[in-house]
């Protein structure tokens, strides 16, 4: 992210110098035609900034940005040329209609897998284009509408040329600053986690659907604003503004410029809008070049030009924030989580079949059973990643059966995964993500994340790349991330897998310390030497049912448990 007061040799500095050069060119040298190209580049930059939020940050491939652009254009075009309404009326309405459409389409599909979102947004684009061509009484049909007035508000008219270019680029600057400010805060971080690992985001208390919907509607606002300004520039509106090349241009600008970066959107727009000017001999085939540029960028430089810039001139490392403990709260003793008759079937397989168990504050419960006995499914049910078919889950006296993962996470359930994957980025950032819904600022979240890392003895890993850590260290960081949630219930899925004996002893001590703080802990584990001394109770599953539960020694000696593990009757 470019900083506001950059060091000149940083990417931000290079971009600031480039921006100043562009400004000087526009103010002093550019011909009327060149100013027009720059103005159109500004329009596309604005549309692409919105696209950076929904696609670059939130990772949802929207194919509707062209449609929002076109709808904004038509609202301004129709109201301006048919009804003579002024800019202060048409501009807000050009933002409102795309926004409403984004809510209506986004609500049903944004919780689904991303390919359904791409389809739904592609559908909007096709339907809106068809409407524009086939409603000639409203839209002027294939010919469109001419005579759209320029920008005029409160008695001031903005004439073509430098004033219009300045107005459009002022909008780009305002929109860009707003987007940059949103991207660098808690909301931007939450979106990138939703993009990189939606499953982890949900278990860290982030409402994935709502975040994606917010990003999508914001992108619609930017698209509508860009479309309105485009029509004020062209003074005519025709179905061209709704055709797929607009969408492709925005996508190409964002990818070539630099995915997720506001500066990338601006850089890409200026560059790609000038491409046809620099290569006049291409004439109508400039879109072939756009296609080639898009393909080349996605293959060779997936983070675009700003990504290349950041690699050539790496920004100085962030100053580490000193860790700070959060205020420990009083935790009620006794039963925290009650599971009664919980069931889940996949097709004909009853993965969890009427399981009843309870977890108590300050106690560690072990969950054992052969592979496929339903341990992970049980954790998925309790943490909300799967919905139970039957039974009840009660948390702190409140029925929470069938709640979504993010709601359960906010209610106090935290978990780790068997695979322990961390998103790309630093370890500190990964743990900071767990505090986004609790702390008021990024700095506070980072300080508390540092504390969580300290508690598992991993503070020194903070600046390292999480995705590149060996599995044993990833598990440790994941545990810190779960602790940062200050959970009432902690569910650990095979936390000791792949650890050495020393590391296991260290891990056991840390888990015991967490439980001593009043947390109800459930540990799934195969290693009995690790598990039995650690836990207060053991529950053994087999075929989705509870085979035995009780004190560790008693369960370990239970003939049925031994038979289930060895697959043979004890002799």
């Amino acid at each position: 992210m470019p900083r506001l007061l950059p060091h000149v040799s940083s990417p931000g500095g290079v971009l600031a110098v480039a921006g100043a050069a562009l400004l000087a060119y526009a103010a002093l040298y550019a011909s009327p035609y060149e100013l027009r190209v720059l103005t159109v580049a500004g329009v596309y930059a604005l549309a692409a900034i919105g696209f950076q939020i929904v696609f670059g940050l939130a990772g949802a491939l929207s194919l509707a940005q062209g449609a929002f652009f076109g709808i904004g254009a038509y609202v301004t075009g129709i109201l301006g040329s048919r009804y003579g309404l002024p800019f202060p009326v048409t501009f807000p309405l050009s933002l409102l209609l795309p926004f409403v459409l984004a809510v209506l389409v986004g609500l049903p599909v944004l919780r689904l897998e991303s390919h359904y979102f791409a389809l739904a947004t592609l559908g909007i684009a096709q339907v809106v284009l068809l409407l524009a061509v086939n409603l000639p009484d409203l839209t002027g049909g294939a010919n469109g509408l001419a005579g759209v007035p320029g920008i005029a508000a409160f008695g001031v008219e903005v004439p073509r040329g430098r004033p219009l270019a300045a107005a459009v680029w002022a909008a780009v600057a305002a929109g860009g600053l707003l987007a940059w400010w949103m991207a660098r805060g808690r909301w931007g971080r939450a979106l990138t986690l939703v993009r990189d690992d939606p499953l982890a985001a949900a278990t860290l208390g982030l409402d994935v659907g709502r975040l994606r919907l917010a990003a999508f509607t914001v992108s619609a606002l930017y698209g509508g604003a860009a479309g309105a300004l485009a029509v004020h520039t062209q003074r005519v509106v025709s179905p061209e503004v709704l055709e797929f090349p607009v969408m492709v241009s925005v996508l190409t600008i964002a990818i070539v410029g630099g995915r997720g970066r506001v500066a990338g959107a601006i850089l890409g727009a200026v560059l790609l809008l000038h491409l046809p000017e620099w290569f006049r001999f291409l004439e109508q085939s400039y879109l072939v070049v756009y296609g080639a540029a898009l393909l080349l960028a996605i293959v060779v430089a997936p983070y675009g030009l700003t990504g290349v810039l950041e690699r050539l001139l790496p920004p100085p490392a962030a100053v580490p924030v000193p860790p700070r403990a959060w205020a420990e709260r009083e935790r009620p003793a006794g039963t925290v989580l009650c599971v009664e008759g919980l069931s889940k079937a996949f097709g004909g397989v009853r993965a969890v079949d009427g399981v009843t168990l309870s977890l108590e504050a300050g106690r560690v419960t072990g969950l054992i059973g052969p592979n496929g006995s339903g341990k992970t499914t049980l954790i998925n049910l309790v943490s909300g990643l799967e919905r139970p078919d039957g039974g009840r889950v009660v948390l702190n006296g409140r029925e929470v059966t069938g709640w979504r993962a993010d709601r359960l996470a906010r209610a106090g359930i935290a978990r780790t995964f068997q695979t322990a994957s961390l998103p790309a980025g630093t370890v500190l950032d990964a743990v900071t993500a767990a505090r986004l819904d609790r702390d008021g600022s990024i700095a506070a979240a980072q300080a508390h994340a540092g504390h969580a890392l300290e508690r598992v003895g991993a503070l020194h890993l903070g600046p390292r790349d999480g995705a590149a850590l060996p599995a044993a260290l990833r598990r440790r960081v994941e545990l810190a991330r779960a602790l940062a949630r200050e959970p009432a219930v902690l569910l650990l899925d095979e936390p000791a897998a792949g650890l050495t004996d020393d590391e296991k002893a260290d891990l056991a001590a840390r888990i015991a310390a967490v439980a001593a703080g009043g947390v109800a802990v459930l540990v799934v584990e195969h290693d009995m030497d690790f598990l039995l001394p650690l836990v207060d109770r053991v529950v053994c599953l087999d075929g989705g049912r509870v085979l035995a539960q009780g004190a560790p020694a008693a369960v370990a000696a239970d003939p049925a448990v031994i038979a289930a593990y060895l697959g043979d009757a004890p002799s």
Binding site: P108, E113, L122, Q126, S285, V288, Y290, L295, V299
Partner: protein, 290 residues
């Protein structure tokens, strides 16, 4: 009688859509990624057939093998340029690279052949048969027969041959297939070739009745995408059934109202299906990763 006529038209259109959707879902299963260029490949096949026709004045049926072969070659190029360099990246990268290839195809064709609509020759003849009062265009019957043959051929290859077993293994679990000695890269390339060839066939079939313009691909990719979604993401028979359903819906609603209304209604129906039955009408095959 009108209903029967519409049914016939719908089935002929659906047969061509089914070829498009089939290519889409085969690539989806083999790579886990959406091939967004599938609609533009159909367009390219149609334009290719229309461009070859004056050079080779033979019925469309004899042009078909040539179009299939040339399009298969294009499919191989597509996999080399837009899939293989991105195979270890998230599926969205392939989505974007195939958008890029689609836009290159679309505009490349416009530059080479111009933007005007073109027609491909009919498969056999342009006449109609009169079956008990029902006007049956020969082309419609030929479309259904050719599509049935091609889809049947795909089912036979996948179900009964060593090549088909390898292709299915690649689609089910590429890592495991590679461990078992299946040449996964070659199989993925073969899948792209097959998908492009079937798209080309669909282009030849559609370009006779409906003409073809360089921008026709956008509408077709949407239809294929919807067909695969309502048929159950990843299901091959579901994709074919979904394509038939869409075509019948489109022909039925268009006959009473108009094509724009039909497309609008199709889209609203799709949104409703996504809300109430996101796994598709027949159930999702591609298991989500947990």
């Amino acid at each position: 009688m009108l209903a029967l006529q519409l049914l016939l038209n719908g089935i002929a259109l659906g047969a061509a859509y089914a070829l498009v959707a089939l290519g889409f879902v085969l690539v989806l299963n083999a790579t886990g990624a959406v091939n967004f260029a599938q609609g533009d490949l159909v367009m390219a096949g149609g334009i290719l057939a229309a461009a070859l026709a004056p050079l080779l004045p033979v019925p469309g049926l004899l042009l078909l093998p040539l179009v299939l072969a040339l399009m298969a070659g294009l499919g191989l190029l597509l996999s080399l340029a837009a899939y293989l360099p991105l195979r270890h990246r998230p599926p969205v990268a392939v989505f974007i690279s195939t958008i890029a290839v689609g836009i290159m195809l679309q505009n490349g064709v416009t530059v080479l052949f111009g933007p005007e609509p073109r027609a491909a020759p009919p498969l056999l003849g342009g006449g109609t048969l009169d079956l008990a009062g029902l006007v049956v265009p020969e082309q419609s019957l030929a479309i259904v027969a050719v599509a049935a043959l091609l889809i049947g051929g795909q089912q036979w290859v996948f179900g009964r041959t060593q090549l088909g077993r390898r292709l299915r293994a690649t689609a089910q679990d590429p890592e495991m297939a590679r461990a078992c000695g299946v040449p996964v890269t070659a199989m993925v390339m073969a899948t792209f070739a097959l998908a492009a060839a079937y798209a080309g066939a669909a282009g030849l079939l559609l370009a006779n009745q409906f003409f073809v313009t360089p921008t026709a691909g956008g509408d077709l990719i949407l239809k294929a995408y919807i067909a695969v979604t309502i048929g159950g993401w990843g299901s091959v028979p579901g994709a074919v059934a979904g394509a038939l359903l869409i075509a019948l819906f489109e022909v039925g609603v268009s006959s009473v109202l108009s094509y724009p209304v039909a497309l609008g209604a199709l889209y609203v129906t799709l949104l409703a299906i996504l809300v109430f039955r996101p796994q598709g009408l027949f159930g999702e095959v591609a298991r989500r990763r947990a």
